[in-house]
């Protein structure tokens, strides 16, 4: 059974429908990129996958015993976070909130989990630094470590490289790719960057005037991608 399966999904706010009749499925170990123009409903789709909003029509079925709390989410940064006075360690630990229930304080196992994930993201030496003093790339690593505390299975990333310089962007993509391959974590990522989507992902979901879901290879054969690639070469 698929890890996440969406059937005839219609999403939107109030009377405005953003996405209609969308169906696709994600298997364990997939790397799905969601691409599309601004305002096409990418973030709305992600919120629906997280269970933050309910679909107008259709259904999202979680398989393989995946609980809604077990999805690691990396949202777009907000202004509040930019100058938040908290240490890296404190922020990574908040990723364990979902598994705490009503227990107010973190257990030893949770502290160890945070430590392991900081190790994995190579930010152990930053543990006591203040979040607001870090560079953009370091901040994203912290948030990724936090998301890993929440999940062993699925990561949802909302434009994880926006605002990063090209070198750091490349590093970030490599890191995500590594998590996908080495740790077999399913990745669902929103991105503007079609080139990167084609380079790294296994599947691509294109949302917009024409909506389609395809494997990476199939996507490269579509007319849309061909015209995109030609334009790119033209420049």
């Amino acid at each position: 059974m698929a890890l996440i399966q969406c059937k005839n999904l219609t999403l939107g706010y109030d009377h405005k429908k953003l996405i209609e009749q969308l169906s696709f499925s994600v298997e364990q170990g997939d790397y799905l990129c969601i691409v599309g123009e601004n305002g096409s409903g990418k973030t709305t789709l992600m919120k629906a996958l997280l269970g933050l909003i309910n679909p107008i029509k259709g259904s999202i079925i979680r398989g393989d015993g995946l609980k809604p709390k077990e999805i690691g989410y990396l949202p777009q940064q907000t202004i509040v976070q930019k100058d938040f006075p908290a240490s890296v360690k404190e922020i990574v630990l908040t990723g364990c909130q979902g598994r705490m229930g009503l227990r107010p304080f973190y257990s030893k196992a949770e502290k160890q989990l945070a430590k392991d994930n900081m190790e994995k993201m190579d930010i152990t030496d930053l543990a006591n630094r203040c979040y607001r003093d870090l560079s953009g790339g370091q901040q994203q690593r912290v948030l990724l470590a936090r998301a890993l505390c929440a999940t062993q299975k699925v990561l949802l990333l909302d434009e994880p490289v926006s605002g990063l310089d090209p070198k750091v962007t490349e590093e970030m993509y490599r890191l995500i790719s590594q998590l996908n391959r080495r740790d077999n974590i399913t990745v669902i990522m929103i991105t503007h960057d079609i080139e990167a989507a084609v380079k790294y992902s296994s599947h691509i979901l294109h949302i917009g005037d024409s909506t389609f879901f395809a494997t990476n290879k199939e996507y490269q054969k579509t007319d849309f991608y061909k015209s995109f690639a030609e334009e790119k070469e033209g420049i």
């Binding site: 706010y13 919120k47 997280l50 269970g51 933050l52 809604p68 709390k69 999805i71 690691g72 989410y73 990396l74 949202p75 907000t78 202004i79 509040v80 976070q81 938040f84 006075p85 908290a86 240490s87 404190e90 922020i91 630990l93 908040t94 990723g95 909130q97 979902g98 705490m100 107010p104 304080f105 973190y106 006591n128 630094r129 203040c130 003093d133 948030l143 936090r146 998301a147 929440a150 949802l156």
Partner: protein
């Protein structure tokens, strides 16, 4: 000077003032950290004006224990204000400004129209700036403050980690199963309770200072959430104690003395923060 102070400390009303002052300072500083980080610095101001308006209405209606009327009204307004997320017609800051000045105007108008005392402007001034009410507390009020403060402190400590998580990143917290709206509701109720009890200390115009200054001072210097929270609590308690003692010794108004000391401490922390960086 010291002898004079020791003599004052013998009086129960001074002891009451110190106990209540310390508790209010502690609670408002803890909540202040959250409010400043959530960009809600002005909600204290808005709510205190609501409390002022409610007090005026309570006085007109002749409700003897006005706390029973003021507290629920303020709590409801706090919930309404903090609930205004991104999807409301009137944005957060405009809603706060509207309710704040609206309540202030209606409150003063009512006090003027249905005044029972001969000195309306005196009454208004005392409610707005606190003046002497902290020194005229009854034992019942003191116990009420102690009770409410213990509740606020308990909730804050028990939910500390969740509060950090929700304040830092609502969408992530929501996505991992935290009931975010419930916590926002909790914070709204707590801040309303603090504001109503803090009106006794500094009056309704100066409460914002008590809420934001300690947090802002602590944020200049400390780099972890725990550090900021603890430091903010200490700064606030120190300023309140110093302010009350100085105001008794030199007979200055309590509220503005405390706020003046808070400003002074903020400047020191600001410089320390610059040097440290």
């Amino acid at each position: 000077m010291v002898e004079k102070l020791l003599m004052y400390l013998q009086y129960p009303f001074v002891q009451y003032a110190l106990i209540v002052g310390v508790l209010i300072a502690l609670c408002s500083a803890l909540l202040g950290v959250i409010l400043v980080l959530k960009r809600f610095s002005f909600i204290g101001d808005g709510l205190s004006h609501v409390a002022f308006g409610a007090m005026a209405i309570a006085a007109v209606l002749g409700i003897s224990n006005n706390m029973l009327f003021v507290l629920p009204v303020t709590v409801i307004c706090a919930i309404l204000l903090l609930r205004t997320g991104n999807n409301t017609r009137i944005k957060g800051d405009a809603a706060i400004a509207m309710i704040s000045v609206g309540a202030l105007a209606i409150g003063y108008l009512l006090m003027h129209l249905f005044s029972t005392s001969s000195n309306v402007s005196g009454d208004v001034c005392s409610t707005l700036f606190g003046s002497t009410s902290i020194l005229t507390l009854t034992p019942v009020e003191v116990w009420l403050t102690i009770g409410l403060s213990v509740v606020v402190l308990g909730v804050f400590i028990f939910y500390y980690n969740t509060i950090l998580s929700v304040t830092f990143d609502e969408s992530f917290a929501h996505g991992t199963g935290t009931k975010v709206s419930l916590y926002n509701l909790l914070i709204a109720v707590l801040i309303a309770v603090i504001i109503v009890i803090a009106m006794n200390l500094v009056g309704s115009l100066l409460i914002s200072a008590l809420v934001i200054f300690p947090a802002l001072s602590a944020m200049r210097v400390f780099k972890s959430f725990k550090g900021v929270t603890v430091c903010s609590a200490f700064v606030s308690v120190f300023c309140a104690l110093a302010g009350i003692i100085i105001s008794i010794a030199t007979s200055t108004p309590v509220g503005s003395t405390i706020v003046a000391i808070n400003i002074f401490v903020f400047l020191i922390f600001y410089v320390v923060g610059l040097v440290k960086r």
